[in-house]
Amino acid sequence: MSDELRTILLEQVDRLLADNAGPDLLRANERGIWPERLWAEAEALGLPLALAPEAMGGAGLGWDDAVALWQVLGRHAAPLPLGESMVAAALLAEAGIAPPSGLIGLAVGSAPVAWGRRAGHLAVLQGREVALRAGPAGQEGRAGYARDPADAAGPGAALATGALPADAGLLAGALLNAARIAGALEAVLDMTVEYANTRKQFGRAIGGFQAVQQLLARCAGEVASAGVAAATAGRAAARRGLAGAEFEIASAKVVCGEAAGTGAEIVHQVHAAIGFTDEHALHLFTRRMWEWRDGFGAERVWARRIGAAALARGGDVLWADLTGRDER
């Protein structure tokens, strides 16, 4: 997708979320109220199928476009299961199955399915097989930190099956969560800078205190790192497919996961008690950052994977491997 088109799409999505989403909608999500209107608007823009090729009714967006879009979702704490549905459609398409319209629940292994109870269809990934099933999933419960509806796929008959490269679901999910974390981090940093410039103690804005400035500068480093790591992973997947981008996706999940931890720590410290309340919106973001860093493989899982691979390859080629990835 051209830079210009991408910018237009991202602005559209950002405006859509700015106009229709917000803390109330996030809280409604957590009470199990389906974001009917927002989903309809997203469908009207063709977003759920956007990653599928045009021949299958999609827009043929690449993984790099997807990352940019998911980052926007993350900036609004993603109050709908759009990212998951996009991944499900992309993976079905990759396996040669035309993705149906409407919400497709993404079921990777035994992980819970975001909003499975509302899904018209399910994409169930086990090993290298992907099965398209009729939805909805059984109503199970809510995700740990985020409290958004998360359900169990359960058993069911396949409408179609296909094969995918190993770990495709895990990789795509990790890419999604890394991008959402990068976006959410931008949002909480902005919120916190704004707060630091308005909250006064000792007769001055707390943002004037050097201790606060140093914390937020460190946070900015993590926010920038997360954004670059996610974008790098998206670019690699667009170039080499998910399997060929394992190093970059794993790196993004590690860096974004670490940044989520450090970032949340800092923004809560600066907000202090008001940020610890249910009423304040900060936790609507930070709880989702904690959720997303655990989902589709925590930092530990991905770090071990690329670390073990590097150890097996040895010190002589470490640098050549790192620099050679985009130079073939």
């Binding site: 943002g207 993004a252 130079e327």
Partner: protein
């Protein structure tokens, strides 16, 4: 977040061939570099090595041919820098001239200065030192007091510079000096000027200072009535602060702000196969290295486009310094004195000591974070 943007950049199409050439060259010349040499990385000084590097056209690569440069792109130069750093090559004899003194002369120097200095830097014959810090002026650089007084035909310098890396082995330094008193105490950024100072001038004394590793890395320089001709003023009199700040963007922007300790990871990797906890740690270190590399490339791309990414460079330097400083400490926890090869342990010890400087040189962590905070809009 403010206007900080990091747009991904690819390395140039020339990169693979360039790397192959560099790797062969470095394997050949680096055979006998000790753990201490590699531990000092770009603060290490080896004039013969720098001349060899220069012979291959890897100094002043981006400069115009008129001055001996190679007219290659900033991103090709980036490839050369990162290959040198990845093996801890002792590049100090040409690093500063190539990174900041040369570009400063190219941008603001007179035609005469360009013709005189640039070809000699390109040949590896002219090594530069950075003359900023003074005994009472570190982070508060603009408070510096070493002064240049106007005399017929030139200037007389009196005062003292300190922590000047490799000055005892260098030929010239670019010194930031006070040429007129500040109009009022709060306007101390005014009245500063930059000069090219010959380190063999009479009245100039260089005293090496032993560092904590036990090496003579940096120096104290005393100026006692040192004469500098008018022709060696750089840029505009009184404009030194703006000039030096732009120079700092070059100083902070490079891959040396995250790669200083990477040679230790490379050297240690094979030994770490015997350590069950290593995979996760190595994975985290690699994830960060890859990400910092992309951030650093984004800044290099901005330099290539003719921008001055001072704030982006400050952010990448700060994040990079955290990384390169933590690396020897992190790996230490995976080493076993009975198992880990002696030279790897030795490099770890040297780097643990040298790493203290990473978050000091080129602007301390606290100063960089102050710059980032202002960029964020914190007041």
């Amino acid at each position: 977040m403010g206007a900080l943007r990091f747009d991904l950049r690819d390395t140039p199409p020339e990169a693979p061939a360039l790397r192959a050439e560099l790797r062969a060259f470095l394997a050949d010349h680096g055979r006998n570099w000790s753990p201490t040499v590699r531990g000092y990385s770009w603060m290490g000084f080896d004039r013969d090595f720098s001349r060899e590097v220069a012979k291959r056209g890897w100094v002043g690569m981006t400069w115009p041919r008129t001055y001996g440069g190679g007219e290659r792109t900033a991103l090709e130069r980036y490839v050369v820098l990162e290959e040198m750093l990845a093996v801890g090559a002792p590049v100090g004899a040409h690093w500063i001239g190539d990174r900041q003194s040369g570009p400063l002369i190219l941008r603001l120097g007179t035609e005469e200065q360009r013709r005189d200095f640039l070809p000699r830097i390109v040949n590896g014959d002219l090594a530069f030192a950075i003359g900023l810090s003074e005994p009472d002026s570190g982070s508060d650089l603009a408070s510096l007091r070493t002064r240049a007084t106007k005399v017929p035909g030139g200037w007389r310098i009196d005062g003292r510079k300190v922590w000047t890396t490799n000055a005892h082995r260098c030929d010239f330094m670019i010194a930031l000096l006070r040429t007129s008193p500040p109009p009022d105490p709060r306007a101390k950024h005014q009245g500063l000027s930059q000069f090219l100072v010959d380190l063999r001038s009479s009245g100039l004394t260089i005293r090496p200072i032993l560092d904590l590793v036990g090496e003579e890395g940096f120096n104290e320089i005393t100026f006692d009535n040192v004469f500098v001709p008018d022709s060696l003023l750089v840029g505009k009199e009184g404009n030194g602060w703006e000039q030096a700040t732009a120079e700092l963007a070059f100083e902070r922007a490079g891959p040396e702000r995250y790669l200083s300790s990477l040679p230790l990871l490379t050297a240690a990797l094979d030994d770490l196969r015997a350590e069950p906890a290593a995979a996760e740690t190595v994975g985290r270190l690699l994830a960060r290295a890859g990400t910092l590399r992309q951030m650093s490339l984004a800044v290099a791309g901005m330099l290539q486009d003719g921008q001055t990414p001072a704030r982006e460079a400050a952010l990448v330097k700060d994040a990079g310094n955290d990384y390169e400083q933590a690396l020897p400490e992190t790996l230490r926890n995976l080493f076993d004195p009975d198992r880990t090869p002696a030279e790897v342990q030795e490099m770890q010890r040297v780097m643990t000591m040298v790493a203290r400087s990473y978050s000091l040189r080129g602007g301390t962590r606290e100063i960089l974070r102050g710059i980032i905070a202002r960029q964020l809009g914190l007041r």
